[in-house]
Subunit: 409 residues, 2 copies
DNA sequence: AGCGTATGTTGTGACCGGCAACAAATAGAC
DNA sequence: GTCTATTTGTTGCCGGTCACAACATACGCT
């Protein structure tokens, strides 16, 4: 029997809907869900396809280097034991890069969704030119690529997270105030994949949200709130990122909390950022850096944490107030979207011990479905590396979502 | 060649992914988009399928009674003119029912998306028992069914809109305060389709939103705000209704406008309904019904309109304030969802001359993408019949979305 | 050892879509 | 009026994909 690839090459054009592609994705997804514990027969049962079909699909996935056989399945009942299937930890991997305001992070994730390499460098990007920033990115990316290759991985694509608004196509940065970028077409400037694939581009909060979804679309629906200099959110619906009409969904930093509130640089008044943003918390807690102007994110976030741990009343009050306001706004978001889970990320992650109870209380108080369902407030599993991790994951997810495109180069 | 139906009967089981089903839907969608002006060759061009395949698909759709040939296409260039294809105006149709607080509406929509019958009865349901309300519904549904049958239509399904929260499965009404319904399983109580199909169930605002989307998913993304006794919204993303995790997405009536605002029956303070709801507008305009308690919707909405037309200052001020608050909240919703269009429905439709400018101003002022994109504020094309129409449309849309399920009974 | 059971493979038939060839129907050129 | 170019719709053929059944394989249990 000729290899599947050879056979397909003969096909003149692919039909508008290719069932094989869908079935391959279905089978691969099944393998990913129970990696190492599922057999060909299990795939057949899980997908509803015939055993012979499942077998053929798996053979193709194995031939393409995405799946491998690992021993045999646990034999519980009588009958021939199946050969266990698992995602290949070598093979294609994704590179994620996070160009944040005061640090840059890179991350490599393999096909199984595991982090294989990560590197975070604290560098304040403010005041530096685009060329300089991109050079740093390139340096970090090269380091990651070398490490990945030494580890036997094939980096097949990269994705970049930026603290700003990105157009839906993922080609240009519409606005990243803290990097000084505006309508910048970065599709040619960013490091490409090993085979020349262009880097994907998205907002930091979006990729961070994806880090929580993991490899599969099993994470359900949730709202990921990322506290940074601003306040951003990523919306994940049924494990899939919702990006909106223009790609800037989840921009909640400038939702109005109080029409008569303090003025915001955006030109309006009483924006959420003025209550729950990083600088707002610092100001409310009475923490200044002397000059009283701009702050870096990590050091001062640590400072807040320290003071809170020490029991400083002003800091505790500031966190409580920020949590309450944040919770009130987020409750509205959860109601509108009808999403039952909230994940606190960014600086909110380390501030969660003081922030989360307030958020939880407000959310519960304003949640519509109170009585039938209760919203769940959790803390991000990853820290500063979340955006880079999510970016790297997004690369691998595209392979798992459509393996045929990968198999046919 | 044997008929397609006969051939398919021989097939033992359908594969997990049936390309035929997708292609039939694709072809039918193409017909729907350019009903009466497209030929088989046009379908092929529009879908990317081969002419022979398109022909076979169309033959099956014609055999199934969904499509018919109508004359020939306009002959512009050289070549044989094509036979024009159109959706059948007879054939399957949908029944939509709206059990509103103070009126009941039924509506029949044929396969082309055209309204073939509608009937609105003003009846206040408050204080009436479930049995009584359902009897009314049944009576109206019977009338619609008779009219539809006399018109040569085949009512293949029905959908019911209720002013309240419905579970995601569409089987039970979780809460409809103004009907006095709570956790009511209505799936057996509502009129079924001609072939025993159970009625679909959804929130009034959701179905009203669908009325704006039309038969096809071509309406893009928008937020439909329905002003009733409460304030509800339907979220339509890429022409498809977004229902949320539990089915109660779009419940914006109790979003907090002001944490220190007036108390709301829901137990919280400063909810949107207290500013932009029907009764709030009446109160702010100084319109009372003597007893000062409950109002009906239509008559008092007309009253507001009359006073506004007469230039009553209190009414104009009330509408301006309601519009401003509504616009502020909706701007936040549009930002979160990244949706660029807003449709005003319910009582907001007739109040739009005074409300819309304020809404538009606030939305524009708070819209994030100001500068790159501007939000569009429009008025619902349908009035009180919008929910019933949307409900009926939802039935027909399921056929257009998956014709194979219809063809195989 | 034999039986029942589950797994993986192979061969067959059916369905589906692309392709090419052909008849049909028209516009335009001469 | 006739011929040509062009477009449409149909038909036969072939390749790809999948369901199904039959079979070899490998295990537990008796």
């Amino acid at each position: 029997m000729p290899s599947a690839a050879t056979v397909r090459a003969k096909r003149r054009t692919t039909p508008a809907v290719n069932p094989r592609a869908t079935h391959l994705a279905l089978a691969l997804r099944c393998v990913a869900e129970q990696s190492g514990e599922i057999s060909r027969a299990g795939i057949a049962a899980g997908t509803g396809l015939n055993r012979s079909t499942a077998s053929s699909l798996i053979d193709e996935l194995i031939g393409g280097g995405l799946v491998r056989e690992v021993g045999s399945t646990a034999r519980t009942r009588a009958g021939r034991p199946g050969t266990a299937l698992a995602l290949r930890p070598d093979g294609p991997a994704g590179l994620g890069i996070d160009v944040n305001v005061d640090y840059t992070a890179v991350c490599v994730v393999d096909l199984t969704g595991k982090v294989r390499y990560k590197h975070v460098v604290a560098e304040d990007q403010r005041g530096h030119g685009t060329r300089e920033i991109l050079d740093r990115v390139d340096r970090l990316a090269r380091g990651a690529r070398q490490a990945a290759e030494a580890d036997g991985l094939d980096l097949v694509g990269s994705a970049v997270a930026v603290p700003g608004i990105v157009d839906r196509a993922g080609a240009t940065v519409t606005l990243a105030p803290n990097l000084g970028w505006r309508d910048l077409d970065v599709s040619d400037l960013l490091p490409a994949g090993a085979h020349g694939e262009r880097a994907a581009l998205d907002n930091e909060a979006n990729f961070a949200a994806l880090s929580e979804a993991g490899l599969l679309r099993a994470g359900g629906s949730y709202l990921y709130v990322s506290g940074q200099i601003g306040v951003g959110a990523g919306i994940v619906l049924d494990g899939e990122l919702y990006r909106g009409s223009h790609g800037w969904s989840g921009e909640i930093g400038h939702l109005t909390v109080d029409r008569n509130g303090p003025p915001c640089p955006c030109g309006r008044r009483g924006c959420l950022e003025r209550y729950a943003g990083h600088e707002a918390i610092l100001r409310a807690a009475g923490i200044t850096d002397g000059a009283g102007t701009t702050f870096g994110v990590r050091p001062t976030a640590d400072l807040i944490t320290e003071r809170a741990q020490a029991g400083d009343p002003a800091t505790l009050a500031a966190l409580a107030e920020a949590g309450a306001v944040l919770g009130g706004v987020l409750a509205g978001c959860l109601n509108l979207l009808d999403v039952g889970r909230l994940v606190l990320g960014g600086i909110y992650r380390q501030l969660a011990p003081w922030l989360a109870p307030e958020v939880e209380r407000e959310v519960a108080a304003h949640f519509l479905g109170a009585g039938w369902a209760s919203p769940e407030v959790t803390v991000s599993t990853y820290g500063a590396e979340a955006p880079a991790l999510g970016a790297a994951l997004s690369v691998v997810r595209t392979i798992v979502a459509d393996p045929l495109r990968w198999l046919t180069r």
